[in-house]
């Protein structure tokens, strides 16, 4: 089937792309050291606590409980949330952009579509190839997380399921932004603007929209805890946050991934809403891509047509 041929070609092209290799390598490297960074942080905190507890014991004072008493093995990898949001998504956007631009820059759209290849076959193949590379990246990251966590802390079967859930959702999250990169690459006549727009979308989701939700609270950016005392203009801030929150893809992602990595303490039932929101954005990105493909004109598809 031609779609599988096109998918294989897409995979080979992505593998040949040295720029993407840099982003991929950075992401894999950060995944590799994520558990170590988490372990190192916790180890430092534990050492400080132990020394403090010893001093307090020597003075005959009460020793408060360890702040790490309830920490879980997977909490060592909580930095993966940020690495995925930043490096992972940037990598996905670039992969999507390159996938959409490749044939346009090579001016081969006309010779491809003058062959017995339908638009559906071609673009399905491209998206499959792109998805395969992102899936491989997530599988590799999952493997690294599993091995590093096993070596450092050990894992239960529930932990393994949580790692699986974390990376499945990350894959969906990355695919959403990859589709943005892909769609704009097919639509725009300027290569730079085609990459800039999905990056601006990503920056807005990651840094701007969250400013109107959790970050409204003075310590919200650092510690997503609802304040116990009233803050100025609290009612207005709450109203703004309630309106914006459903659209804050990053907040939904952080909530669910915080659950999977056992750092949020929330119940699984609470995650259904967030997972639904992430899936809705994913479906929206696919629908937008489908519309772009439907309207794509092969005769004018090449960048220098």
């Amino acid at each position: 089937m031609r779609s599988s041929l096109i998918a294989k070609n897409e995979i080979a092209s992505i593998v040949r792309d040295k720029t993407l290799w840099v982003l991929f390598a950075v992401f894999v490297f950060m995944t590799l050291i994520s558990a170590f960074i988490g372990w190192s942080s916790q180890h430092t905190v534990q050492e400080v606590y132990s020394a403090s507890a010893a001093q307090l014991r020597a003075q005959g004072m009460d020793i408060p409980p360890s702040p790490l008493a309830d920490s879980t093995p997977l909490s060592l990898d909580k930095n993966m949330i940020i690495y995925t949001l930043l490096i992972g998504v940037l990598m996905a956007i670039c992969m999507g952009h390159n996938a959409g631009m490749r044939e346009r820059k090579a001016s081969v759209m006309k010779i491809i579509f003058s062959r017995p290849v339908s638009k559906l076959e071609f673009f399905a193949g491209k998206i499959l190839g792109l998805g395969a590379i992102l899936l491989f990246t997530m599988l590799l990251a999952a493997f690294i997380t599993t091995v590093t966590s096993l070596l450092l802390t050990g894992l239960s079967s529930q932990d393994l399921l949580n790692i699986f859930g974390f990376y499945v959702l990350s894959f969906i999250y990355l695919c959403t932004f990859a589709m943005f990169g892909f769609s704009f690459a097919l639509v725009m006549s300027d290569e730079t603007i085609a990459l800039l727009i999905p990056i601006i979308i990503w920056l807005s989701f990651t840094f701007v929209i969250p400013e109107f939700t959790l970050a409204l609270y003075p310590t919200g950016s650092l510690n997503p805890v609802i304040p116990v005392v009233s803050t100025p203009h609290e009612a207005t801030l709450n109203a703004i946050a309630d309106i914006v929150r459903p659209f804050s893809l990053v907040d939904h992602y952080k909530e669910v991934e915080g659950y999977f990595l056992q750092v949020s303490g929330s119940a699984w039932q609470d995650q259904l809403y967030h997972i639904g929101a992430i899936l809705a954005w994913f479906i929206l990105s696919l629908a937008a891509c489908a519309l772009v493909i439907k309207r794509f004109n092969p005769a004018a598809g090449d960048l220098n047509a």
Binding site: I6, N9, A106, S107, V108, I111, I112
Partner: protein
């Protein structure tokens, strides 16, 4: 009947065996702008048909319709016996196309480009055919060279190679000599002529270079502002306009309604 000037429909000669391109009242509109206006002509098997006209005349739009890349607004056309709208997949199986400004995948070698495009055309194991085509085009030396390292002339050869890999019945060339140096132009012309002579392939050439028409084509059509104003065999054209000293003057004469200049 032959040699109708400034007519919209023309037969190359009275009998019409083996028609491979049959265009009837083909029109393409973009809003109010009419890019191709009610164009009709026929091309026989084995001809090298030169489609000439000024920039923006509608030549590429016509080729895009005939290669099924663009849907016509009205009219019908058949290529290799199949209708371009209703039977577009059958048309695609039987045509080869070299568009203007083809770049190909620069990070892939010539062989890899041809293998991929050959498989897209339905050739299961294209290796032998790739070698055969590259030998035919005297381009075997480029086989393992990355396209990014190839000159424009080399790319055009590889461009022709991809267009003929699947042995199409009709080959469409859009401004094939664009950007080539004189040696590249000659090599390309020689390849096209060899292809026509040795395989009998019908070749449709879009060009605004009249020198190439005289050297390559057996018949020609002249498009002006979307209208087909002339079509006939090259020999009859040269005979009809024997008072003109060059094909450039013939072309200008046709463009400006020069039937009075005939004979």
């Amino acid at each position: 009947m032959s040699g109708l000037i400034q007519g919209n429909y023309m037969e190359i000669d009275g009998s019409l065996p083996n028609i491979v391109i049959d265009v009837r009242s083909l029109t393409k509109k973009y809003g109010d702008f009419v890019a191709v206006n009610n164009v009709s002509f026929r091309v026989r098997k084995g001809e090298v048909f030169g489609f000439i006209g000024h920039n923006g005349a509608g030549k590429t739009t016509t080729v895009n319709m005939l290669t099924t890349l663009l849907q016509p607004t009205s009219g019908i056309a058949k290529v290799a016996g199949f209708e371009i709208v209703k039977e577009y997949m059958e048309v695609k199986k039987r045509i080869g196309y070299l568009p203007e400004n083809l770049q190909l995948y620069e990070s892939m070698t010539a062989y890899e480009n041809l293998a991929y495009l050959g498989k897209l055309s339905g050739i299961v194991n294209p290796d032998a055919r790739i070698l055969e085509v590259l030998t035919f085009l005297d381009a075997t030396g480029y086989k393992d060279k990355k396209i990014g390292e190839c000159s424009k002339g080399m790319r055009q050869k590889i461009g022709i190679a991809q267009a003929i890999l699947h042995k199409p019945e009709v080959l469409f060339l859009d401004e094939p000599t664009s950007g080539l140096d004189p040696q590249g132009v000659k090599q390309l012309r020689d390849s096209v002529l060899k292809l026509n002579e040795q395989t009998g392939m019908t070749i449709f050439v879009n060009t605004h270079l009249l020198s190439e028409v005289t050297r390559m084509c057996t018949s020609l059509g002249v498009l002006s502002h979307g209208h087909l104003i002339y079509v006939d065999s090259l020999a009859k054209t040269l005979e009809r306009f024997k008072n003109e000293e060059s094909l450039e003057e013939i072309y200008l004469s046709i463009e400006h309604g020069g039937e009075a200049n005939a004979k």
